[in-house]
């Protein structure tokens, strides 16, 4: 049973499971840092899908896309954490529910 290569569906399932975990983290946790980490989990889950299809179809495009995803993730994290530090200077909390100025 445990012989042969891994089917594509297994990789896609792993990717979907990790993506859902990331969504749950974003929706349920209120700590800014943990929400950010959950976004990273989602980006990584998408990378698995891209590379699994790449491997399945013998292409290079998915690897380029996941490379770009990593670039965007790096940019997003550096700017996002800078924003968190700047906000924390004005209001010393990391609880997202306390930043409700733009809510209606």
């Amino acid at each position: 049973m445990l012989e042969g290569s891994v089917p594509l569906a297994h990789y896609l399932t792993l990717s979907a499971v990790l993506f859902v975990i990331g969504i749950v983290g974003v929706l349920v946790r209120r700590n800014v840092i943990v929400v950010f980490m959950s976004i990273e989990i989602m980006l990584n889950a998408v990378n698995i899908s891209l590379i699994a299809f790449d491997n399945y179809l013998n292409l290079t495009n998915g690897q380029i896309f996941s490379f770009m995803v990593m670039c965007v993730a790096a940019a997003e994290v550096s700017v996002g954490l800078a924003i968190i530090i700047a906000v924390h200077r004005n209001k010393p909390t990391v609880n997202l529910d306390e930043f409700n100025l733009l809510k209606w």
Partner: protein
């Protein structure tokens, strides 16, 4: 044999991802996330995408997580007390509606995916996922996105410096 490697790594990744969102201390979450990144790079090696696997370790487990740790240290975050997991009863109806709709869409997507017949080549060439192959595609077909990515990184760098300054002058 590959399955024998895949299942433990996949299980580890899922367990650590759950650890990220269930941990009460941000440092614990970050540690779990580092472990998950390393596991995912193992998955990428299994998929023969060696270049991306190395990038995963260098960029995610190295650079991004160090940045997270620095911010956790700067903000001096301790264990979060109590009110971290919130359910908002006000939004209950909309939540259930969106959930049902999302499940419907996912079901349809899975249905279509199983109907699709993607033709897979019988065997991957040895050059799949090497730095040479990915680099060649990156500098020929995708040279414009590559340059735009450099602009994006420059903008992010300047933005981070400006945002983190105590006072704009």
């Amino acid at each position: 044999m590959e399955l024998l490697i895949f299942y433990p790594i996949a299980g580890l990744c899922v367990a650590l991802a759950l650890g990220v969102i269930f941990n009460t201390s941000p440092v614990g979450s970050a540690m779990c996330l580092i472990g998950m990144m390393l596991g995912l790079s193992g998955i990428f090696v299994l998929l023969q995408a060696h270049f991306i696997a190395i990038l995963q370790i260098i960029i995610y487990a190295g650079a991004i997580m160090v940045l997270f740790m620095f911010v956790i240290m700067l903000l001096n975050l301790k264990e979060s007390a109590g009110a971290d997991w919130v359910s908002r009863d006000k939004n209950l109806f909309i939540s259930i509606l969106t959930g049902v709709l999302a499940v419907g869409i996912l079901y349809k997507l899975v249905d279509i995916t199983f109907m699709a017949k993607l033709d897979s080549p019988a065997e991957l060439p040895d050059t799949f996922g090497t730095v040479a192959t990915v680099g060649e595609a990156l500098f020929t077909d995708y040279v414009l996105p590559f340059e735009v990515a450099s602009l994006l990184l420059l903008a992010a760098m300047i933005g981070a410096v400006v945002l983190a300054k105590p006072k704009l002058d």
